[in-house]
Amino acid sequence: MTMANDVFVLGVGMSRFGGPYQQLDSRIIEASTEAIDDAAIPYSEVQSLYLGTSLAASTYGPPVVKDLGLTGIPVTRIENASATGGAAFYEAVHAVSSGRLDVTMAIAFDDPSTSAVPDFNNVEDISPILDPFVPPMAFFSMWAVRRMEEFGTTPETLAAVAAKNWNNARLNPKAERQATEEITIERVLGSRMLAYPHTARMAAPQGAGAAAVIVASKAALEKFGVSGDVKVVAAQAHSERYAPGHLFTGAIIGPPEMVSRAAFAAYEEASIGPEDLGVIAFHDAYAIEELLYYEAVGLCGPGEADRLMHDGETQLTGRFPTSTDGGFIGRGHPSGPTGVAQIWELTHQLRGSAGDRAVKHKPSNGLAHIVGAGSVCYTHILQSC
């Protein structure tokens, strides 16, 4: 699907990710009002609401957003595992792009302490398809061991990816992980082993959080008398295609082919190439993912990701700054809101309002990539105007 009409990011907001818990209502309202204030329009102008959550109980969400205003608009809940926030944003964007609506809003949230999903530690509780013995950390670690065999990737390179994201998070007041001193490769390697070769500091924390974004048509911008400074130039949703080696069990993510296909479809839609990207948000739940996705989205060729990392090209000062807000590893991954938090970060980087973590070379284009178990992939490209 491609976009028929221009769509602009009008406002973004998010709560800090992490604890305290059991306060999700206030986080949702905090993120939403921040987005409404940022957009500088009254909530009554929002014509449709897309609520993203992958962990909340079935009726949670719509009653909370009543506090934004009982305006009678459609309120739709969306769930797509880790990609939930990306899916909510995608639907909000396409509702405007199609010409059906002029102003829509995506609000995504989760609090794992109130999770309604099965207990993965209780084997009797879950379907055999959700294989409790091969959890996500095992799945991605097997990707890493394979990569080490094929390309000579070392645990030090995975630690370098994680350290970069931890240190970017130190510059993001909304990040879950706020290290008081620089995180070194040695500290990452020295943390508790989760699943070889991934240590705890190479994996995303899962705290609570909420994030929100308002998008609008060009006609809406004219009506409000504002000039959009960030435009959505590509919105792609993909799922897996069959290939030998396809897995049908477990909380799995499909092969990087799906990621590559979504990214290059987005480039075509945006009429740019990977060389035009100036900031990238990845699904870096585990360090190996970010490394593999460098190649999958075309930042470098096959087998070149390790060099790209060690050359500093993905640092804030490099050609392709990645996970600038800390990514999953530093900012955190509550699940539902993560994809909208990526849009929050890209918007600030493209506007030039990212503060201390602003990338050295002001970007014109930013890419947000997120995947969800099952598996699905959402890729958006935002462009400064």
Partner: protein, 144 residues
């Protein structure tokens, strides 16, 4: 055909849908695309490539280790695969005879696990529920 009538082309999943173990050895139940011949695990209701029919097939119980890891978490059950409760191995295995890839627990020690190593399916008891032993499908390094 009305919606209330059973679709004769629709396959049924076996009761024990993925594997079983008997005195004659372990069996891994899969599906085979009637049109393409491609095999899948666990069994599918339709061919994921064509949407066409599939037939039950017993898959190879040996394969090649595509990758592995060791999960440092308490074992989720009563019996640890390696005789301790520290953690357990996991692997992706490409079954022989052009079979599918599957992810499962690995038995044995880390010294046994190398990409490309031949492995053999095993039944791994992990828990007893209401007096009945529960097992999962696992793999271990094939005897040389």
């Amino acid at each position: 055909m009305t919606s209330s009538e059973p679709n004769p082309n629709r396959s049924k999943l076996p009761e024990n849908y993925s594997f079983d173990d008997s005195a004659s050895g372990i069996t891994i139940h899969g599906s085979q695309s009637d049109e393409l011949g491609t095999t899948y695990w666990p069994p599918r209701l339709r061919c994921p490539q064509t949407g066409g029919s599939v037939s039950p097939v017993d898959l190879a119980t040996t394969g090649i280790l595509w990758s592995w890891s060791y999960v440092h978490l308490p074992w989720m059950g009563d019996v640890a695969p390696n005789g301790d409760d520290e953690g357990y191995g996991v692997g992706m295995v490409d079954l022989d005879d052009d079979g599918p890839r599957l992810a499962a627990v690995l038995m044995g020690s880390r010294d046994d696990w190398h990409i490309g190593a031949p492995v053999t399916a095993r039944e791994l008891p992990y828990k007893t529920i209401d007096g009945k032993p529960q097992s999962i499908l696992a793999f271990e390094r094939s005897a040389s």
